[in-house]
């Protein structure tokens, strides 16, 4: 199974309880991976309020994931 590095920030970091982890998953897009993780960890935010970044760039949540990718799920932002 492909291995994906996931990094968590803010509300997702608190709800997951760790800031990063490596996962073996069959989820083939960030959207599918978020659904899998939300079901497992009970994240409060629905997928449509989350953006995704892969390898430090924003991507469409339907972008195919590859082995070794680094994924970050981005909750609604609030800088400033």
């Amino acid at each position: 199974m492909p291995k994906i590095q996931v990094q968590y920030f803010a509300i997702l970091r608190e709800q997951r309880g760790v800031s990063a982890e490596e996962l073996a998953t069959t989820a083939d897009t960030p959207a599918a991976l978020y659904d899998e993780l939300r079901a497992r960890h009970g994240f409060s935010l629905p997928r449509d309020r989350i953006r995704a970044a892969v390898n430090d760039a924003f991507v469409d949540a339907a972008t195919p994931l590859r082995d070794g990718d680094r994924v970050v799920f981005i909750p609604p932002v609030a800088g400033g």
Binding site: Q7, F9, A10, I11, R13, S44, L45, P46, A53, D56, A57, F58, V72, I74, P75, P76, V77, A78, G79, G80
Partner: protein, 150 residues
């Protein structure tokens, strides 16, 4: 240059770095930690950033501003960490030959930065409660717009 800062922002040195004999106008914006949001007393703010992407997206915003407005230079800094009231959370500085472009570009940069940078803010209230701004879901207390600082 757009950067994420873990230590206190020094606006004087940032502004001095923009000095250029071609610049006839300098507009800066400072976002400060404020004591109230949506009627709730706020004691402090905790900022967290996905620094690598926040800096690259911040650079993209600066580059867009240079394309849209006639600028000499533009720079921005956003602080992370747990900040007390009055602390400088975000700084934007723009220079141009004339004031119109400098005002417009400064406004563009801070507006885009607030909307796009992967930065999160947790408010600590006098009641002891905390909340990640804009992240409330159904059934939770509605916190959110407008964010406290900036």
């Amino acid at each position: 240059m757009f950067r994420i800062a873990t230590a206190r922002i020094d606006p004087a040195s940032l502004q001095a770095a923009l000095a250029n004999p071609r610049a006839g106008a300098c507009v800066t914006f400072e976002g400060w930690v404020r004591n109230r949001n949506e009627g709730q007393p706020v004691l402090s703010l905790e900022y967290e950033a996905y620094a690598l992407l926040a800096e690259s997206e911040g650079e993209k915003i600066l580059s867009e501003a240079r394309g849209k407005f006639s600028l000499v230079a533009a720079a921005g800094v956003h602080r992370v960490g747990h900040l007390p009231l009055g602390e400088l959370a975000v700084w934007v500085g723009v220079t141009a030959e004339h004031r119109g472009a400098a005002f417009d570009a400064c406004r563009y940069i801070i507006d885009e930065a607030k909307a796009r940078l992967p930065i999160w803010k947790k408010e600590h209230y006098a009641s002891g409660a905390t909340a990640w701004i804009n992240c409330a879901t159904r059934g939770e207390h509605a916190t959110g717009n407008p964010p406290t600082a900036g």
